[in-house]
Amino acid sequence: MRSGCPSRSAPSDQHQVTNDKVTNDKVPLPAALTEIAEDFLALSARDRLTLLLDFSDGLPELPERYVGHAELLERVDECQSPLFLVVEVEPARDAKSSQDATVHLFFQAPQEAPTTRGFAGILYEGLDGLSVAEVLAVPDDAPYRFGLAEAVSPLRLRGMVAMLSRIKRQVRVRSAA
């Protein structure tokens, strides 16, 4: 979905890559999120917005089974515009532990809220399909590792922090059963 973004091919700003928060001594991000973070950090603040818009455009529609079932979705109040999300945990056939089950994420946010949709798109692409253990290991400060504070302001990033914590909470609840 992001192949249409011409600006993400060549790192344009080397010093930002050197300051790359992905490779420092913090708790590491899962591979897909690491790749997304590297893509963002290789861009100027302006181009990061373009990439965020690609994530917004690419956020999958809510599947049919959830449409019209607001009661099945969790509302993320911390986002500037209303966002709803739901987590499914699919048990692995030969799984020894619920920690090996696969996590799937579904989101709903209006087209008029592209920043919120973009945050959801990053988390979808970075986390969907991971195991329960992998999602629960994602550090809570992950939203600050994409260089988005400069692009959208730290104030606006709080919505993404809330999304991640609600995703992890749902994963915890649904994998405990």
Partner: protein, 296 residues
């Protein structure tokens, strides 16, 4: 004025009709090739920093209330140097007519206009109905970002006093205070807007003596401003305000109260309306300031 005003009959009733343009007027200017000639620049100012990028009025340029108009470090507006960069870089000169539009019934457009007014930019107008009306009328939208030729904008010192109130001004204020937040925020039940993130106030309620007039009462269903007689019914008849009153309006950070500032100043012709931009995120956190709770 660099560009003729819109002689729309609805606007003629307002105290300052030159402060509004209609979607028809703007479409006409676009047709005539008047936009981005140096005389007329159109700005989009939204709550969502990416909304412009999803598609905007052709020729319009983005301005972001947070990244472009707020200082990055101090809780304050940008200084004269930065303002000159922000405007000059968008092809706006001191004499350029600027038309601003945005989402949420022009909250953020009114907020941008209020900041432009701190710097005395003379000819700033709002697009009545904002982004929503333009989109609802199925007018052209594009993702193409215009390439603006930078021009020199003078470094002007900000003049806050006439239209900006600080906490100490409010403590000493004798005239009417208008709280434009939702009823739940006013009464103290909610610490933030319904449907919005908690933005950190330690206490709920309102400034003692403030009257509750939610900003949205001034907006019609289609995001346009209500007619002058409808506005007079709310602010003059019902609330008993008078155009000669010394009024302070506030909300949470001064964005919704910019909408009310615009209505009182430019549509109803009030002489002295100040926006208290510290608003509830300052007052509700300040130590030992008086607070009232309840719907009253």
């Amino acid at each position: 004025m660099a560009v003729a005003t819109d002689d729309n009959s609805k606007f003629a009733d307002y105290a300052h009709p030159e402060r509004l343009v209609s979607t028809d007027w703007l479409a006409g200017q676009l047709n005539d090739g008047a936009v981005n000639t140096g005389n007329l620049v159109v700005l989009e100012s939204d709550e969502d920093v990416l909304l412009y990028d999803t598609g905007h009025i052709p020729g319009a340029v983005k301005i972001d209330w947070h990244l472009d108009l707020n200082d990055a470090v101090t809780r304050d507006y940008v200084n004269g140097e930065r303002f000159a960069q922000v405007l000059g870089g968008r092809g706006i000169g001191r004499d350029t007519t600027v038309v601003i539009y945005g989402d949420k019934s022009n909250w953020w457009a009114a907020y941008a206009m209020w900041v432009f007014t701190l710097f005395g930019h003379e000819d700033v107008r709002l697009l009545d109905g904002g982004r929503a009306k333009w989109v609802a009328e199925e007018r052209e939208i594009t993702r193409e970002v215009p390439v603006q030729t930078a021009v020199d904008y003078p470094v002007v010192e900000r003049n806050d006093a006439p239209i900006r109130a600080f906490k100490d001004d409010v403590l000493a204020h004798i005239g009417p205070l208008v709280d434009v937040r939702s009823p739940g925020e006013f009464s103290g039940e909610l610490l933030h807007m319904p449907d919005y993130p908690q933005e950190g106030a330690m206490r709920g309620g309102h400034i003692p003596g403030a009257r509750s007039v939610p900003w949205a009462r001034a907006a019609a269903e289609d995001s346009t401003f209500k007619s002058r007689s409808d506005l007079e019914a709310i602010y003059l008849t019902e609330q008993g305000l008078s155009p000669s009153d010394d009024v302070v309006a506030y909300c949470r950070i001064g964005e919704r109260s910019s909408h009310t500032w615009f209505v009182l100043t430019h549509l109803l012709g009030f002489d002295k309306v100040r926006n208290y931009d510290g608003s509830w995120t300052e007052w509700g956190n300040a130590v030992r300031v008086p607070i009232e709770v309840g719907a009253k």
